[in-house]
């Protein structure tokens, strides 16, 4: 059933990454992505891969899950790698030549590094953030991280409230879509034959009731929220208080050390193995 899909791909657990403050994890993810893209030498790539593997291990997310997460992007990765191989021109003699097709050593290296980089960014940001942080903690972290922006009248609270409600209602709406589709199928609706236009048109009997019911839900929810004294973030407190813990500092130090490692190996060890 559609109901079973997990949202935001969060895997509950007790690892150090699960325990870290969501605000810190957002910062760490940004730092990590910057560092990965700064890597420009073989040594810094090795550092990056090693670091990513360590992150994955301490997150205790299973290898299977991580590989599954990479799968959707596998095609794009291979596709760009393929173009890199054929389009990159090297200075040395081509390794392989057939007519106008020439493959250089640089092309292959470039393609491999590209795959490694994308795979690292994906894996790393997933284990730091999406796999180990519940969607609610994520929105919460984002709201508090961005709360200084409220001063310049950016609707940070409203945005995070919208996110929370969206997350809350996605499973409900998926279930509802399923129900309405079945109800229309029972009246002979056909969603699976005909061309694109016919199929799109066939969806109207699903979309119209779905919209109607979403509006109804929105109206009822708004009333219910008003009855619970909601009036934006005016005078609002929060039950869960976010506090940076030693764990967060530790993770930050590790991340900084990794970033420094990348920068230093780019500068000093960049020539150790020549591309």
């Amino acid at each position: 059933m559609l109901k079973d899909i997990t949202l935001g791909q969060f895997f509950p657990g007790k690892s150090i990454l699960h325990k870290a403050d969501p605000r810190m994890k957002i910062i760490l993810t940004l730092l990590y992505i910057v560092a990965v893209f700064m890597s420009s030498s073989i040594v810094s790539y090795i550092v990056t891969v090693a670091f990513t593997v360590i992150l994955a291990v301490i997150s205790r997310i299973s290898v299977r899950v991580i590989l599954k997460g990479l799968k959707p992007l596998l095609f794009i990765m291979l596709f760009t790698a393929f173009f890199n191989i054929f389009w990159t021109k090297g200075e040395s003699e081509p390794l392989f030549a057939y007519g106008i097709i020439k493959i250089y050593k640089e092309g292959i290296i470039f393609a491999v590094l590209m795959i490694v980089r994308v795979a690292c960014v994906l894996t790393g940001s997933s284990v730091i953030l999406t796999y180990t942080t519940s969607p609610i903690a994520l929105t919460d972290g984002l709201e508090r991280l961005l709360s200084p922006l409220k001063k310049i009248k950016l609707p940070v609270h409203e945005f995070s409230m919208m996110m929370t409600i969206a997350l809350r209602f996605i499973p409900t709406l998926i279930e509802e879509t399923d129900k309405i589709m079945n109800a229309q199928k029972a009246r002979g609706a056909d969603f699976s034959s005909g061309g694109l236009i016919k199929r799109t048109k066939a969806l109207l009997p699903v979309l119209i009731p779905l919209f109607a019911s979403s509006f109804r839900r929105a109206g009822e929810l708004a009333t219910a929220m008003e009855c619970r004294c909601y009036r934006g973030d005016k005078g609002r407190t929060r039950m869960t208080q976010l506090k940076y813990k030693p764990v967060d500092l530790l993770l930050l130090l590790i991340m900084v050390a990794y970033g420094a490692g990348v920068v230093l190996s780019n500068i000093y060890l960049g020539n150790l193995i020549v591309l």
Binding site: R168, P171, A224, M225, R231, M239
Partner: protein
């Protein structure tokens, strides 16, 4: 005499028609000059068929709707006064909580305990105090073990209990249940009804339970029947259900046993007391009557 907790004085309500014009056009009234007093700590069932105006009445009490005419007093204070500030309105909403019909459309957060915390958070309660209230509220409705669950993993009855916990955490004096059991299966219905009764008996919360289920109305201390925007019956469950004929004309059912006894009485078996509401006692009485026929 003690001031009534809630008092409605000549309250009428009509929706405005959508058409723009120099004079406000009103649609036919949904509530007509309602006068009503509700005592603190009572458990009142409000019955009526769909469209009778019973849900409108509920929405007037916490100022989601505003009466077209008449006044509503809460603890002797006129809450329909023009000078009510926004803060005053929120005080009323905290005191009179509302639980709605569709359990899905009143939960806000993706985690049960976060949802229960929503009300107190809006009220600006201290974090540690919110924690305590949330834990206590979930315990009261028997949902503590589900506090880390996501609402969509729960059954209808469980969701509705979470919604109730969300209201209790605001420490209300009165809770209005607007057909909160209508969409539930019998098991969910029972869970929610038991919770409501407990809140009233143990926590002393005033309960207004809007329903069209007779068996639920039996559990209240007072039943008010609304029909076409007017109060047509008001009394103890026993008094109200003895008006079988009138209940039928306003489109409500009576319990099957009451119906049976009522029919017997109207056939001329005068010994039958159809106002008895306890099944066992009814059986006792009817068995006696059947046996005593022999002695005549």
């Amino acid at each position: 005499m003690e001031k009534p907790f809630i008092k409605l004085e000549d309250v009428s309500f009509s929706y405005e028609s959508g058409e723009e014009g120099p004079v406000k056009m009103l649609l036919p009234p949904i509530l007509k000059r309602i006068n009503l007093e509700i005592a603190r700590g009572s458990f009142v069932a409000i019955l009526g068929h769909n469209g009778s105006g019973k849900s409108t009445l509920a929405k007037l009490l916490n100022l989601i709707l505003f009466p077209t005419e008449g006044k509503i007093y809460l603890d002797g204070k006129d809450i329909t006064d023009e000078n009510m500030t926004e803060d005053d309105v929120y005080v009323v909403r905290r005191k009179i909580g509302m639980v709605f019909q569709n359990p899905d459309n009143q939960l806000v957060a993706t985690v049960v305990e976060e949802d229960v915390a929503f009300g107190p958070e809006n009220l600006g309660v201290e974090p540690a105090e919110i924690r305590r209230r949330v834990d206590r509220a979930l315990e009261t409705v028997g949902m503590s073990e589900f506090k880390k669950h996501s609402p969509h993993q729960l059954s209808g009855g469980q969701k509705q209990r979470v919604a109730i916990a969300g209201i209790i955490a605001m420490l209300p004096e009165c809770i209005v249940f607007d057909e909160s059991t209508a969409m539930l299966d019998p098991k969910g219905r029972k869970e929610v009804m038991d919770t409501i009764v407990r809140l009233n008996r143990e926590k002393g919360i005033t309960v207004l339970h809007i329903t069209h289920n007779m068996e639920e109305a039996f559990r209240a201390d007072r039943v008010i029947v609304i029909s076409d925007g007017e109060i047509s019956l008001d009394g103890t469950p026993r008094e109200v259900f003895s008006n079988v004929g009138k209940l039928r004309t306003v489109g409500l059912d009576v319990p099957q046993v009451t119906e049976l006894l009522y029919e017997l009485k109207s056939m001329g078996y005068d010994e039958v007391d159809y106002t008895e509401t306890d099944e066992e006692k009814c059986a006792e009485m009817l068995a006696e009557i059947i046996k005593s026929q022999k002695g005549r």
